[in-house]
């Protein structure tokens, strides 16, 4: 825990409810005639975790991809710290520098060592020196207990280790929002725990996270707000504890019981 990036560890101050970190309004995404997102609103405040839940095809992943400007949106607006990032002439690279994203299949760079995977963007996007970047990366690797794997290549690591590397690769850049797209779905059951542990750890140090997940128990435990997407619209949302204890919509109850079985 010695060489840590101080900013990443410092807890955020009390939440400023007037200034959401990210705000989405009326977000729509169509593929040809098919409506994948039919007008979604979302707000997340600094240090919060918002969980997106819903069955496959409900639009969770598409939502995250739209926020990161990987998909062109069909309608609606997205603001990052009050700045509209959905305008046509936005510098997309600039926006993606502020938003981190981690994928279901890790997507580590196969030709780079674990250390170089993490330092790549620190050096080439943030312009840090090799030594600085490596110090930051090693600090993070130390924190997740993978410092001894710094020189290894991704294919020598377990799925859980790869996914944790992918997460810190994004977090090391100090993103304003971290998007996690079903980061445990591709993992063997016994490896899910270590990844969830890392997310819990990130929450404790104030990282703002939107996560699409199938891990309902985990969503209940760590998230501040839960959004249930059904066929591209928000069917129900609420504070995590309340949402799971007293689901108000029939569709929500159905979904929750189906997953519990």
């Amino acid at each position: 825990m010695s060489n840590l990036n101080a900013d990443a560890l410092r807890p955020e101050p009390t939440i400023d409810w007037n200034n959401p970190r990210l705000r989405v309004s009326g977000l729509r995404k169509h593929y040809d005639q098919k409506v994948v997102l039919g007008g979604v609103d979302l707000e997340i405040y600094p240090g919060q975790i918002v969980a997106l839940i819903g069955s496959s095809g409900s639009g969770k992943s598409t939502m995250l991809r739209c926020i990161n400007l990987i998909e062109e949106i069909s309608d609606g607006q997205i603001w990052l710290e009050g700045k509209d990032i959905s305008v046509a002439n936005i510098d997309q690279d600039e926006v993606r520098r502020e938003i981190g994203m981690v994928f279901q299949s890790y997507n580590l760079f196969a030709h780079l060592s674990i250390l170089d995977n993490i330092t790549l963007a620190l050096r080439h996007v943030q312009g840090k020196s090799k030594a600085d970047a490596e110090q930051i990366a090693l600090g993070w690797l130390d924190r997740i207990g993978l410092a001894d794997k710094a020189g290894s290549f991704p294919d020598k690591l377990s799925g859980g280790q790869q996914q944790r590397t992918a997460i810190i690769r994004a977090v090391a850049l100090n993103p304003k929002v971290l998007l996690l797209d079903e980061v445990t779905s591709a993992l063997d059951p016994e490896l899910v725990g270590e990844v969830l542990e890392l997310i819990r750890d990130l929450k404790a140090s104030g990282t703002t996270i939107i996560m699409a997940t199938h891990e309902l128990t985990f969503a209940r435990d760590v998230s501040d707000w839960v959004v249930f997407l059904d066929q591209g619209v928000v069917a129900e949302e609420g504070e995590a504890a309340d949402f799971f204890a007293n689901p108000k919509q029939e569709r929500t109850r159905e979904f929750l019981t189906r997953l519990k079985r």
Binding site: G100, N107, L120
Partner: protein
């Protein structure tokens, strides 16, 4: 040896399996040996028993002619080797440039994209020998004062680079396209620009992946350097031709041919080695 391995005592079933496998291996070595001998004897006998064999033997495989021709042909091969080095480097650079041109997206580069595409279509279709004629006799025909007199081997090298770059550009392009889009996605979501993603993530992986097919093109280039002889460069083939004219015997061609084969063997082995290294990475079962 690990402790667990040292303590390992094979079961009777494994001992029996090992015995049968060893016997099988011994049998297959024996079978291939016998089969090779029979085949070689049959082929040799078939050749020697042809009515014209004696004449062919004296005009293609004459030892004294081979010894006489040897120094000159070897000298020519040295030129082939030098041409090969320059051509290979030129092909790698120009082929890579062409492949990169085709990946550029900005509208400013539209002409470059069209050029690269047209170039590859054109030179993949055009026979190498025609390229050699066009470059070898066309460029001097322009009578460019500032260019001076360009040696035939240089013109030949240029022609080889022109043709082979088109093939190699396609190999590189296939490599670039074979990199899974999720790698680009990850790079872009870390904030890397399109160009950075290409340079730092896609190209390094693509180049590694296409190493085996590139080696294949290199082996092919290695023998095609002999074609510069048609422009009058005194390489191994041309030297052999001169010796043939002098001795009225075809043996020097065989000498040159064997030298090219010898030259190719290390590259071919190296290409195999690379290919098998990559195959191992794919981790198919070792018993397949």
């Amino acid at each position: 040896m690990s402790k667990a391995f040292a303590a390992f005592e094979p079961s009777p079933a494994e001992v029996e399996r090992t015995r049968i496998r060893t016997a099988k291996r011994r049998r297959s070595v024996l079978v291939s040996l016998v089969s090779t001998v029979i085949f070689a004897v049959a082929a040799g006998f078939g050749l020697v028993s042809t009515p014209g064999w004696n004449r062919v033997a004296s005009s293609f495989f004459d030892l004294s002619t081979a010894i006489d021709a040897w120094p000159r042909v070897l000298d020519g091969l040295w030129l082939n080797l030098r041409v090969l080095v320059f051509a290979a480097v030129g092909v790698l650079i120009f082929g890579m440039l062409l492949a990169i041109m085709r990946t550029l997206r900005s509208p400013v580069f539209f002409p470059l994209r069209v050029f690269a595409r047209g170039y590859v279509d054109f030179f993949r279709g055009l026979p190498l020998i025609i390229v050699l004629y066009l470059v070898g006799f066309g460029i001097p025909g322009l009578r460019l004062e500032w260019l001076g007199r360009v040696p035939a081997e240089v013109l030949g090298t240029v022609a080889l680079i022109l043709t082979y770059s088109a093939y190699v550009a396609e190999v590189f392009r296939a490599g670039i396209e074979s990199i899974h889009p999720s790698q680009r996605l990850a790079a872009r979501s870390l904030g890397l620009s399109y160009a950075q993603t290409m340079r730092l993530v896609v190209l390094p992986q693509a180049v590694r992946r296409v190493a085996p097919p590139l080696m294949n093109d290199f082996v092919s280039l290695q023998k095609d350097v002999g074609l510069i002889s048609i422009l009058g460069a005194v390489d191994a083939v041309r030297a052999a031709q001169i010796e043939v004219a002098k001795s009225a015997n075809f043996t020097p061609y065989v000498v040159a041919g064997l030298l090219f084969v010898l030259l190719a063997i290390p590259s071919v082995r190296f290409a195999d080695h690379i290919a098998s290294k990559y195959a191992k990475r794919e981790q198919a079962g070792s018993a397949l």
